[in-house]
C-alpha cells in the first residue's frame, strides 16, 4: 500500500547538485572531515504536533552522506550485510544491487558517491558499527533548516527559491561524489539536492489509512488537508521529504535513498 506512493515520489525529479568535478575534487577531503557539532535548538516541523517548535538537543552529524567506499568497508568487515548474505527480513532484493559485485562498489569516483539502495536496517547497522546512530527526523530537519550562514533559513525566500531549484533538478546518473554542495551554517553538506536520507524514526510519519484508523489525530497529513494543516505551505521540499518517509518501509532500497550517521 505504501509502494505506489514511494514509486510516484521517486519518479519526481530528484534534486542534484551539478558539480561533479568539484565534488570529485573535494570528495576525499570532505569524507574524512567526520561529524559536525550541531549545538541544538528548535525548529518548526512541517506538521505541528500541538507543541509548536520542537526542541532538539545538541548532537553530531556526519558532514556528508555515507559513501559507497565507506559502506564497502562495512560489508567487508560484516559479511552478514553482503548483498548475497543479507537476511530477507532486513532488506529487499534491490539491496546494493547497483554494485558491480558483492564486494565491489566500483572504481575511483564510484567509491566517493553516496551509497544508495540500502535499507533502514542496513543503514542503522552501519551507523552502529561506526559508533553512531541514524539521526532522528527532528535532528535531520533541524540541521537541514540551516542556510549557508543562518541556522534557520527555512523562512528565507532566497533560500526557499534555491531549494526549490535543487529539488526540481533531475537526478544525475551516476550520482555525484559526496561533498559537492556548499556547507551550511553548521558545516554540513549535501542535505539538500543529492539523495534522500533515512532517519531513525522515518516511521513516525502517519499517513492515509493509519491516520484514519487512529482517529483524527493526524488528519493534517491526508489529501487536501496536507497543505492546509502545514505550518509552512510554501515549503515544498519538506512536503516531499515527509511524503517520502510516509511511503517507505524499513526493508526498502531505492536508487535515490542514502543516509548519514549522527551521534549524541
Amino acid at each position: 500500500m505504501y509502494r505506489p506512493l514511494a514509486i510516484l515520489l521517486l519518479a519526481l525529479p530528484l534534486a542534484a547538485q551539478a558539480q561533479p568535478a568539484a565534488g570529485a575534487r573535494h570528495g576525499r577531503a570532505v569524507a574524512a572531515a567526520g561529524r559536525a557539532r550541531i549545538p541544538g535548538g528548535s525548529y518548526l516541523p512541517l506538521y505541528d504536533r500541538g507543541a509548536g517548535r520542537v526542541t532538539v538537543r545538541p548532537f553530531a552529524l556526519d558532514r556528508v552522506p555515507v559513501t559507497r567506499g565507506d559502506f564497502l568497508a562495512f560489508v567487508t568487515a560484516n559479511p552478514e550485510w553482503r548483498r548475497d548474505h543479507v537476511k530477507p527480513v532486513l532488506a529487499d532484493r534491490g539491496y546494493l544491487a547497483d554494485w558491480p559485485g558483492a564486494l565491489d562498489a566500483g572504481r575511483g569516483d564510484d567509491l566517493r558517491r553516496p551509497v544508495v539502495q540500502v535499507s533502514w536496517f542496513a543503514a542503522r547497522a552501519y551507523c552502529a558499527w561506526r559508533g553512531g546512530r541514524l539521526p532522528t527526523t527532528d535532528e535531520w530537519e533541524l540541521a537541514a533548516a540551516a542556510g549557508r550562514t543562518a541556522r534557520d533559513a527555512s523562512r528565507d525566500p532566497a533560500e526557499q527559491r534555491r531549494r526549490l531549484e535543487l529539488y526540481g533538478r533531475p537526478r544525475p546518473d551516476p550520482l555525484p561524489p559526496v561533498g559537492g554542495t556548499p556547507p551550511n551554517a553548521y558545516g554540513v553538506r549535501d542535505l539538500h539536492g543529492v539523495v534522500w536520507e533515512w532517519t531513525r524514526d522515518f516511521h513516525s510519519v502517519l499517513v492515509a489509512g493509519d491516520s484514519r484508523a487512529t482517529g483524527a489525530r493526524d488528519v493534517a497529513l491526508t489529501c487536501a488537508a496536507g497543505a492546509v494543516g502545514a505550518t509552512d505551505p510554501r515549503n515544498y521540499p519538506a512536503f516531499l521529504r515527509y511524503a517520502l518517509r510516509g511511503g517507505l518501509d524499513a526493508r526498502a532500497t531505492l536508487g535515490s535513498l542514502g543516509f548519514r550517521c549522527a551521534a549524541s
Binding site: M1, H203, S204, L206, V207, C223, A227
Partner: protein
C-alpha cells in the same frame, strides 16, 4: 489520473515561480490522495486487508510461499520481557500461528478496539485450534509499560494467559519491531501515542502471512489464520 498528476509534477513551470510552486503542491496532493483514497478518508475508517504479496494466493496455495520473500521476524534478534518479567524472543512466543499488534496500556482511544478485534478473532476460532494460535500485544510505550502494567492490563481486559502474551522491551527493540511490521507511531506532547492500527498474522517461522490495516472486519485475517492452521 495518475498520469495527469505526474505530468503536472514533471511539467516545466508555465509561469513564474509562484505558479510553479502552487502547481507542484497541487500535484503532490494528487499523488498523496490517489493511492490512498480520499473517498475513504471522508467516510468511516474502512478496514484494509492486505496480503503481503503482489498477487494474493489462490485458494489452497500455501501462504508460506507468499511470506517467504519478506523473511522472518525471528531473524531480527529482538528481546522483550513479558508480563511476568521473563525475557522472551519472538520465536519463543506461543503459536505456532501468532496474531500481533502494537498498543500501549494507557491508550484511551483505539487500543481497546484493537484488543477487542483480536478477542473477536479468538472467540471465532474453533476450540480445537485455540492452543495453536497465540495473541501477542507489544507495547509502544516501554518507558511506562513495565511487566506490572502489562499484567494489570491483561487482568483488566480478561486476556487468557494461556493464549495471550504481552511484551515490553527496550526502546530500540520496540522501534525495530514497529519498523519491521510497518507500524507507524509517534509520541504526542500529551503523552498519547498516535499509531497505526495494524494486525499482523505471523506463521510458525516468524514470517508475515497477512496484515490487516484498520478495524472493523477481521474476516480476511481470520481466513489467513485458518489457512495457516490447515
Amino acid at each position: 489520473m495518475l498520469r495527469s498528476a505526474l505530468v503536472r509534477l514533471l511539467a516545466p513551470p508555465p509561469h513564474p515561480r509562484r505558479v510553479a510552486t502552487i502547481g507542484a503542491l497541487l500535484g503532490l496532493l494528487l499523488v498523496l490522495c490517489l493511492p490512498t483514497g480520499c473517498r475513504e478518508a471522508a467516510g468511516a475508517a474502512a478496514p484494509r486487508d492486505r496480503v503481503v504479496a503482489a498477487v494474493p494466493p489462490a485458494a489452497g496455495s500455501p501462504v508460506a510461499d507468499v511470506a517467504a520473500d519478506r523473511g522472518s521476524l525471528h531473524d531480527l534478534g529482538l528481546r522483550f520481557r513479558d508480563a511476568t518479567g521473563a525475557e522472551r524472543e519472538l520465536a519463543s512466543v506461543g503459536g505456532p500461528v501468532r496474531v500481533v499488534a502494537m498498543v500501549y496500556t494507557s491508550c484511551a482511544h483505539t487500543c481497546p478496539l484493537v484488543v477487542a478485534e483480536m478477542k473477536r478473532l479468538e472467540a471465532a476460532l474453533p476450540a480445537a485450534e485455540h492452543a495453536r494460535v497465540g495473541f501477542v500485544l507489544v507495547s509502544l510505550d516501554p518507558a511506562r509499560d513495565g511487566p506490572a502494567q502489562l499484567a494489570a492490563f491483561a487482568a483488566h481486559a480478561a486476556l487468557d494467559p494461556a493464549r495471550w502474551t504481552l511484551l515490553t522491551g527496550g526502546e530500540d527493540d520496540v522501534l525495530t519491531l514497529a519498523a519491521a511490521l510497518g507500524v507507524r507511531y509517534r509520541a504526542g506532547a500529551d503523552g498519547e501515542i498516535a499509531h497505526s492500527n495494524l494486525l499482523t498474522v505471523l506463521d510458525a517461522r516468524g514470517r508475515i502471512a497477512h496484515q490487516q490495516q484498520g478495524l472493523g472486519d477481521g474476516a480476511a485475517t481470520r481466513a489467513a489464520v485458518e489457512r495457516l492452521l490447515d
